[in-house]
């Protein structure tokens, strides 16, 4: 068994420093890894990233993150990533990583993702350059996520995004803003590999559970959704069919 802890949308700044620490002390007893699903900061400043690095430092388990839209706000992504990495946090964008756990090799592929909407109600790459650029951003993110997922050699595969890959976990959000909360293209990327679990955030008023069209379980771990410091999922390595 592999134990995966996850939370998203912690929106750290100096006013939040230390709030997660008591729960994080228990983390090594409960999980083999901690995933952070983006919106780690309020505005994406290096100072806020330093708060993230401080809060999630030296936890006794690897910490793997993707960025969220808030982490892009100041347009200081390289500084934010560098600061997070300084705190020992691996930041994924269209990349994957494999960690050895007592229950087997856990592969995590991550990408922030983007909006666009869901099947039958989505944006198309047509018309103005702004619209094409919007859709292309999502296509590129989904392609990177798919490649990262398919490249990983592991026993259990997890996809980590900020934006939602399915509408199921948006339940509770206004329907009108679904296209800004996620894209079916991320779901399609997740279904292109033998993914066991997809974890995301961003939808603060959404709901916890969903499933992709291909049958992959999806969990929205936005902090206001899970209403606890982090959630823990137990995953089991599946015997792969012979090629």
């Amino acid at each position: 068994m592999i134990r995966v802890a996850a939370v998203a949308d912690v929106h750290m700044d100096s006013d939040v420093l230390g709030r997660y620490r008591p729960a994080l002390e228990e983390l090594p007893d409960k999980a083999d890894v901690l995933l952070l699903g983006g919106d780690l900061t309020r505005h994406g400043s290096a100072a806020e990233a330093e708060c993230v690095a401080t809060e999630f430092r030296d936890l006794g388990v690897p910490v793997i993150a993707v960025l969220g839209n808030h982490d892009h706000h100041r347009d200081q992504v390289p500084e934010v990533v560098k600061t997070l990495e300084g705190g020992g946090i691996a930041v994924l964008e269209g990349e994957g990583t494999v960690i050895d756990t007592p229950g087997g090799r856990l592969g995590v592929a991550g990408a922030k993702g983007f909006g666009g909407g869901f099947a039958g109600r989505c944006a198309s790459a047509f018309g103005e350059p702004e619209m094409k650029a919007f859709v292309q951003t999502t296509c590129d993110a989904a392609d990177r996520l798919s490649e990262a997922l398919r490249r990983l050699e592991c026993d259990v595969l997890v996809a980590l995004t900020h934006y939602a890959p399915v509408p199921d976990t948006l339940l509770g959000e206004p329907l009108e803003i679904y296209p800004f909360l996620g894209s079916y293209l991320l779901g399609q990327a997740i279904d292109s590999a033998p993914t066991a679990l997809a974890v995301h955030g961003h939808a603060h008023m959404g709901s916890e559970r969903g499933v992709t069209p291909g049958g992959v379980k999806v969990r929205n771990v936005a902090h206001p959704v899970i209403k606890q410091a982090y959630s823990v999922f137990h995953l089991h390595a599946r015997a792969r069919a012979a090629a």
């Binding site: 729960a23 008023m205 606890q228 410091a229």
Partner: protein, 84 residues
């Protein structure tokens, strides 16, 4: 200028919550009721809740604002979810 509690006020408050550099909150619901504007949702600290209340009241002095925003709890999880 006196501002009635109409749809444009609702839209302006929603944008203020996100775009004001001291707020940056996208997870607050703005509900336009008969008598007042209700803000609900959750934030990460009491200071953020207070700042939202202060800024919205200052920007819309003629609107009755009711703030019902909680602070998201950070206790460790009681149990894990088995995904077999």
């Amino acid at each position: 200028m006196n501002r009635r509690l109409d749809e444009y006020v609702e839209a302006d408050v929603q944008r203020l919550l996100t775009e004001d550099v001291d707020l940056a909150e996208q997870g607050i619901t703005v509900l336009r009721r008969e008598q007042n504007l209700v803000l609900c949702g959750e934030v990460e600290s009491q200071a953020r809740r207070d700042e939202i209340e202060r800024k919205v009241r200052a920007a819309f002095p003629d609107v009755a604002v009711l703030v019902d925003i909680g602070i998201t709890r950070t206790q460790p999880p009681g149990e894990a979810e088995d995904l077999s």
